[in-house]
């Protein structure tokens, strides 16, 4: 997993609440192996028409937002199905972070396991950021860049006068900063798990057989 310390990158505004994981990746692509071009499936039916041609209006297809690595989204982003393919395709497309007022519960967890940073910020703040990005006509990408410092938990974005501070649980904060998943930590608790398991089995023998 790639360590996440800070990122400064082009950001794309994605309008609409409740963007579900079926939009992020339609179910028909879920049978693909992890190394089979997940970046092509991201927002597939929104990005491409039925003949496979790019839909010019879709935000990631617009010249000013091509190559975006940060998404600025609205409430309940990634709701619905638990499919981790939704995160695979975002990560493979090159998205490093998603800013939204709230996230689908399982999607949020899936992001953390793949080095993709989900940042919760106030809905009104993000409305302002999306509006500024949408109105931007600058040819230079730097006008549409967002800077995220994960160590300091700050976001600098167009349309905001001051950096925004976000909160992240210390446990996942450390995992992301170090680029490690939690499995190694869990395995280091092997004795504690074994002891718990023994007591649990003694107390509720019907649960583990």
């Amino acid at each position: 997993m790639q360590a996440f310390t800070h990122v400064r990158a082009l950001a794309a505004p994605l309008e609409g609440r409740n963007v579900d994981t079926d939009q992020l990746i339609p179910a028909r692509f879920l049978k693909k192996n992890r190394d089979e071009f997940y970046k092509n499936y991201l927002f597939h039916d929104l990005r491409f028409d039925e003949h496979g041609a790019q839909r010019p209006d879709f935000i990631l297809n617009r010249p000013l937002f091509q190559g975006a690595q940060i998404l600025v989204a609205d409430e309940n982003f990634g709701c619905g199905s638990s499919r981790e393919g939704a995160v695979y395709c975002l990560a493979d497309y090159g998205i490093r972070a998603i800013l939204a007022p709230s996230f689908g519960d399982i999607f949020f967890n899936n992001c953390l396991k793949n080095g993709l940073l989900p940042v919760r910020l106030d809905a009104k703040v993000l409305d302002a950021v999306r509006q500024t990005l949408l109105n931007s006509t600058e040819t230079n990408d730097s006008a549409r860049e967002i800077t995220i410092d994960l160590a300091a938990c700050t976001v600098k974005a167009p349309g905001l006068n001051a950096p925004q501070i976000f909160t992240m649980d210390p446990f996942w904060h450390e995992c992301l900063l170090k680029g490690v998943d939690e499995l190694a930590l869990t395995l280091s608790y092997a004795n504690a798990i074994a002891n718990f398991e023994q007591q649990h089995r003694n107390a509720h023998p019907w649960l583990t057989s």
Binding site: N18, P26, D105, T208
Partner: protein, 474 residues
């Protein structure tokens, strides 16, 4: 009596949580013990990850594989999968399950079915247990008094490797359902009403416990339907305290305790209901006696409305984001505000899915279809081989076939369409499934979520119909 020594009142969820904490942390995630983990064919990512790390399944007896997402519903032969790629996924699951040593309900198993139907049916889902499954509708098992939640592939791998998971404790919400539901109104209508009230993000960060006088009128299948769709309000889990209905259902099932263990388990399960005075961060109360049969009009599950009504007008919404979303949904659904719901024609019906494919679901659809003909095509997909067998023993299959519908083999089928069971572009479907998202049942397909009885009523009239006008008239 020294009251200060008594433990503070706890919710059902909190009692189960406390019994499963391996490594407590005051803030953020604690390490939780997972009693039973269920997987389906989509687990090939988790298995690949597990093998790449040189790990195996820690406790194969606590892991259950059930083939449901990719299996064909036309036969029990992987060769009938509609593409070679889908067949590969089914066969890969066979290989992985063989390697794992875990319990396996393959496509050919006489007790195979949809994971969330098979879990309770086999007695895997027990009161007081913690259950994970790599599927968002795992909340279903909460109707058995379990703490159950969906996980992704990485978390699934973690559970297989360690039998544990790092989890933050959700907030507690209580939804009180009062009154006796009218005839023709069931679990599906109630949960659509709950989601309409909460909104699709209304329960994010919560575990939802259902309580209230209405529960005594609801079957276990109704309760499973309600907990199943609790995730559609954003909740982590839905729960209902196990009672005699659950205990008598579980007695004697494959993975339920037997003999002295049963007696011990029962004594413990009876201590699990939420204590008087326990704290819920949020409460909601619904008078279910006032509910009508429901259907959704939009592209999110919170757009449920009573069948007597009309397509709502977005102009009435003060919030501009909500208005935009409603306008986009109306455009996709090809609907005009003010249209009477009972005049909307349908092209197809789907009766099935982990939400509504159990025996009482099939009975309620058959009660409407008996002696009538469907005027649109449709499929009926039993939730499990055991449900299918029981339905056939009652002759329900003959009712569906006589009505002109197809009677299929168990699987997720048209709910998610991964196996290729899809509607055609621009078709309008009356579906007993759980999600009406854009493109969910195929590109351009318009999905309306309804109960099995309402799907049957729409099938025989060709348009959405208040099922109560068709009841008992054959």
């Amino acid at each position: 009596m020294n009251l200060s020594l008594a433990s503070p009142p706890r919710t059902l969820f909190e009692k189960i949580w406390d019994q499963h904490v391996v490594i407590p942390r005051s803030a953020g995630p604690s390490l939780l013990y997972i009693d039973r983990h269920i997987i389906h064919e989509g687990s090939f990512h988790a298995f690949k990850d597990l093998r790449a790390r040189g790990l195996t399944i820690r406790n194969p007896k606590q892991v259950f594989g059930v083939a449901d997402h990719y299996v064909p519903t036309t036969s029990r032969d992987p060769n009938d999968a509609i593409t070679a790629e889908i067949k590969e996924v089914i066969l890969k699951f066979d290989d992985n399950m063989k390697w794992s040593g875990a319990h396996y309900f393959s496509i050919k198993d006489p007790q195979q079915g949809i994971v969330h139907v098979v879990g309770p049916e086999q007695g895997m889902s027990l009161p007081g247990s913690v259950i994970t499954c790599s599927d968002s509708h795992t909340s279903t098992h909460g109707a058995m008094g379990a703490m159950a939640f969906g996980v992704g592939q990485s978390e699934s791998m973690h559970v297989m490797a360690t039998q544990t998971l790092w989890q933050a404790k959700p907030l507690q919400m209580r939804v009180e359902l009062n009154g006796k539901p009218a005839a023709g109104v069931g679990g599906k209508d109630i949960i659509l009403a709950v989601i309409a009230k909460l909104g699709v993000a209304g329960a994010v960060g919560f575990a939802v416990e259902y309580a209230g006088s209405a529960l005594q009128w609801l079957s276990l299948d109704d309760r499973l339907t309600m907990c199943n769709m609790t995730i559609e309000a954003g909740a982590r889990s839905g729960l209902i305290a196990a009672d005699d209905l659950v205990f008598s259902y579980l007695y004697g099932r494959n993975f339920a305790p037997k003999g002295a263990a049963w007696d011990q388990a029962l004594r413990e399960w009876q201590q699990l209901p939420s204590d008087d005075g326990c704290h819920f961060s949020q409460t909601l109360s619904i008078d279910v006696a006032r509910l009508s049969p429901m259907l959704t009009w939009g592209t999110t599950p919170d757009t449920g409305v009573a069948i007597e009504g009309v397509v709502p007008d977005p102009a009435a919404l003060s919030d501009s984001h909500a208005r935009q979303a409603a306008l986009a949904a109306l455009a996709y659904m090809d609907l005009t505000p003010g249209t009477a719901l009972s005049t909307i024609n349908i092209d197809r019906v789907f009766i099935g899915s982990c939400t509504n494919s159990r025996l009482s679901d099939l009975r309620s659809a058959a009660d409407i279809l008996r002696g009538r003909r469907a005027v649109v095509p449709g499929i009926v997909v039993a939730g499990s081989m055991l449900v299918k067998q029981a339905a056939e023993a009652e002759g329900l299959d003959k009712v569906f076939l006589a009505a002109g519908l197809e009677w299929r083999e168990p699987g997720c089928s048209m709910c998610v369409g991964i196996n290729g069971d899809l509607a055609l572009p621009n078709e309008r479907v009356a579906s007993t499934s759980n999600r009406n998202f854009v493109g969910r049942q195929g590109p351009g397909v318009r999905t309306h979520l309804v109960s099995p009885a309402m799907a049957a009523a729409a099938a025989v009239t060709g348009h959405f119909t208040d099922v109560r006008t068709l009841m008992g008239q054959q």
